[in-house]
Amino acid sequence: MARRWFLAGVVAVMIALGGAAALFWPMGAGGGGGGVGGRSVGGPFSLADQDGRPVTEQTLKGKPTAIVFGFTYCPEICPTTLTNMTAWLKALGPDADRLNMVFVSVDPERDTPAQLKSYLSAFDPRIRGLTGSPEAVARIAGEYQVYYRKVPIAGGGYTMDHSSAIYLMDAKGRFVAPIAFGTPFDSALASLRRLIHP
């Protein structure tokens, strides 16, 4: 059992490093304020949440944020991440209210606020779903150095390739660390606790 978890941890770290390295080098030795070539992860954006309320980077400041990019057409990764986010919020107890949990759609053509509202109703209501114009989504993805791409599917429709990691930002909107998809539940929870109590 111990060996199993140890190996799982090693693999998760490898994935985290590999995933991050493909896009940017996220952490200095002490973490915090990471970026590549002087560019930091995070920045200004202007989107709307699932109730149609405007949300900008200023809305999120004052609390640390866990932010992930996805789309509701995703059959596996995104529902898994949202299920985990829901369980983390529950496990955090009162600390959960000291954190923003944010799901940004990279598929604004299909993910309207109404679609996000219905879809997210299966998860913790504290998770904010953000969407906007294609330009506004491209802007936040650029600020967060998130990769996404629309890929047509033979026979109609399309899917989105997208970065799967959750990005942890501090209360001032500065990048702290990623949580790679597949990170063991408890180790991700520990990262969230460290984010809330730095």
């Binding site: 799982a8 599917i153 597949g182």
Partner: protein, 172 residues
Amino acid sequence: MSKPLFAGRLAAGLLVLSAGFSPALALDVHQGALILSHPWSRPTPPSAPTGAGYLTITNHGSAPDRLIAAASPAANQVQIHQMSMAGGIMTMRPVEGGIVIAPGATVSLAPGGYHLMFIAPRRPFKLGDQIPVSLTFERSGTVKLDLTVETPPAPGDSMPGMAMPVDPKGGH
């Protein structure tokens, strides 16, 4: 002293039994030279435009077979997809030409890899639901079975190439 030890051994034995003889075996479907086992799906949120189906296919024949099509009354369309993760980026593509099951091979449609992609489910998939699906194989023909909607395993346990090496029993 001896009682707890016995209880421990008994519990360990039951664990091995339950791992080796999962209830899914009772639901195995035989079709031609193929055995299809543990057909399952995951719950979907309201208005989810897609769902995913999984199963394990073993080819006991001497010729390769191929899963070439899938359909279900529970969705507008069912496609055969492969998900993959590289450098932290999730991609998903239809599998061109279908999934080949070589003679003697077992192929899993499982989280992190191949799946049946349900497009526009007629209603959300709820825990315990049975989702009817028909699968068409090049050699073995068309077979109908039900996917049971279950709670998916934790993703850390389901990534391809992750679950296998860390399995203390070694898998085979």
